[in-house]
Symmetry: C2
């Protein structure tokens, strides 16, 4: 990664994703010269640890970014819209984990293993968008197949962990289960309904067409990342009582036939994703065991003879890592590799 | 239902489904003259209550069925294969909840709202098969649409409750969550892996083609019940930490276009299934709230423009009721109505 080091800021450092960003910068030995931890006024003065050093959280504001070279944003779309411009003005590259800029034509939407070449477009605006977590996990399984056989249509049905709704959502599942075990009434605050022992076919807000925003992200972001506006995507996104890894059942139809054996080869040859698929030995990826891992895992690979060139697979990835924090940091690492930083 | 009453036996009376059969016979005022509760030798002498009366459980055996007119079997496929013949020889109609006879060409496979006319074929063998729970729930949403617009292809992705694996599986989820809340180690006995805070893309055993038996049931039983061997089904079946209602995300492609409005009309006009679908007010069916209900519920009805005449919907039904015990008893009720009993 060269010998240069960087002044890095995390906006939203106290959130679930911000926390993992902090961990990963340390674990991956990202060349940090200086680190600013930014959050809302509520978290001001809180202390977080980086490489054994305590760092005080500062309030995110227009003047937070002086001297910052890499600004990692994960503080929600409205804060990104308000504050990213100050980071850009200060000369930083913004890598934004929110949905604020993802569909802006001039802003690249990047999964480094899939479309690293898109990163260089950041020069137009200073901003790179990190995709939606479910889209990243889905595409880590789908992209290796698409690059070989071209996906024409994809039906994606998700089993999303509560971490996707933030640290409070994780605490809510835990609190509901503890209350249930004690025979106490369950509190419902973050999710619209009880999530313990339930599944909610509703993530993000509903749109006019009956799909949720989360579902439309899967359609639109998949097309942008794969740079193919012709791919048809039919999404259903569902919350399940799992803490931090997302699973997606994916049914694809490709232009060129992909056998199970070919799919295994293609996925195993792709960076950041591994095949875990041995039905005879009950090997398939599960979110409980994938939580905390960097790579995404694909199993249940089956040819689907209900349609020409059909294939089913099941992909699981840690929502906080590859679905958010890790992907953002990998974007910065790729920029260093490509001498863009 | 006429004034005749019947000698009824439940084989597997102490299991999760058998228990609900017992409840339903009472609640629905099924004309029971005499009731025999049968189970394995382990449960012999146990006492269950029917209409305020204690009934001792007898050991299921070749001589259990003397005088029995309706034998409800829910004791697993191997017991059905072993003992159903004795019930038939004794002159009973067997309504079997296991997978033992479902695909036998001479044995009808019945959801009374969908294919009541198939029941009369029972005369050939004395046996009527009750379909797989996920297939029933899926078809309660799909059949009203199929009868109008003919389904050509269906991608069905399930979120199955632990009740589908029996009373011990329900106890295992409960015990795992209680142990987790106490910080104690979790025991894994019924499912191959921990089910609490996890999802398992594995139900029933794996077959040579990479699909599970549960998935093949969805393909084969759907075709038999809808009496249409041309329907293409692509299934993925998944266990989720929910107690007793199954949910299925269904994507269909029909010969005739079905709009959202038309789908709502068709489903609401069909017996045994209701539309619960008002995104603006966060109304959609969820397994926690559908548990214990007789009807299945459909929501998230959305036209799918990724394919010609595409439609997505989400259907939820109580696995122990419509997915098993209720459907079996409805078959017997339909026979009374049709003067077959």
């Amino acid at each position: 990664m060269g010998s240069k080091s960087y002044s890095v800021a995390i906006a939203g450092a106290t959130g679930a994703v911000g926390n993992v960003m902090l961990q990963l910068l340390e674990e991956r030995k990202f060349p940090v010269r200086e680190l600013k931890l930014l959050a809302s006024s509520k978290s001001k003065g809180k202390t977080l640890t980086f490489k054994g050093e305590n760092i005080s959280v500062e309030e995110l504001g227009p003047k937070s970014f002086t001297g910052v070279e890499v600004a990692l944003f994960s503080a929600g779309a409205s804060r990104s819209k308000e504050f990213a411009k100050y980071a850009v003005e200060a000369g930083a590259v913004v890598i934004d984990n929110s949905s604020a800029f993802r569909m802006e034509p001039d802003i690249p939407l990047v999964v480094p293993e899939i479309n690293p070449d898109a990163i260089k477009q950041y020069k137009k605006t200073g901003i790179i968008a990190n995709p939606n977590c479910t889209t990243i996990v889905t595409l880590m399984g789908a992209a290796p197949l698409h690059k070989y056989g071209k996906i024409k249509r994809m039906v994606a049905t998700s089993y999303q962990a509560v971490s996707g709704a933030g640290a409070k959502a994780m605490a809510e599942l835990e609190a509901q289960v503890r209350a249930w075990a004690k025979g106490e009434p369950l509190k419902v605050e973050v999710f619209p309904y009880q999530i313990a022992f339930n599944v909610l076919p509703h993530i993000d807000v509903f749109l006019e067409n009956g799909y949720t925003k989360e579902e439309m992200k899967l359609i639109n972001e998949s097309r942008k990342i794969l740079n193919d506006q012709t791919i048809k995507v039919s999404p259903t996104t569902v919350r399940v009582p799992v803490f931090r890894a997302h699973s997606v059942a994916v049914n694809i139809q490709t232009e060129k036939k992909i056998t199970r054996q070919k799919a295994i080869e293609l996925i195993n040859a792709f960076p950041g994703v591994q095949v875990e698929d041995d039905p005879a030995h009950k090997k398939y990826p599960m979110p409980l065991f994938i939580a905390g891992q960097d790579d995404c895992f694909v199993g249940r690979i089956r040819e689907d003879d209900s349609v020409e060139n059909g294939l089913n697979f099941w992909v699981v990835g840690d929502q906080l890592k590859k679905g958010a924090a890790l992907n953002a940091i990998q974007i910065a690492e790729q920029m260093i590799k490509d001498k863009l930083l």
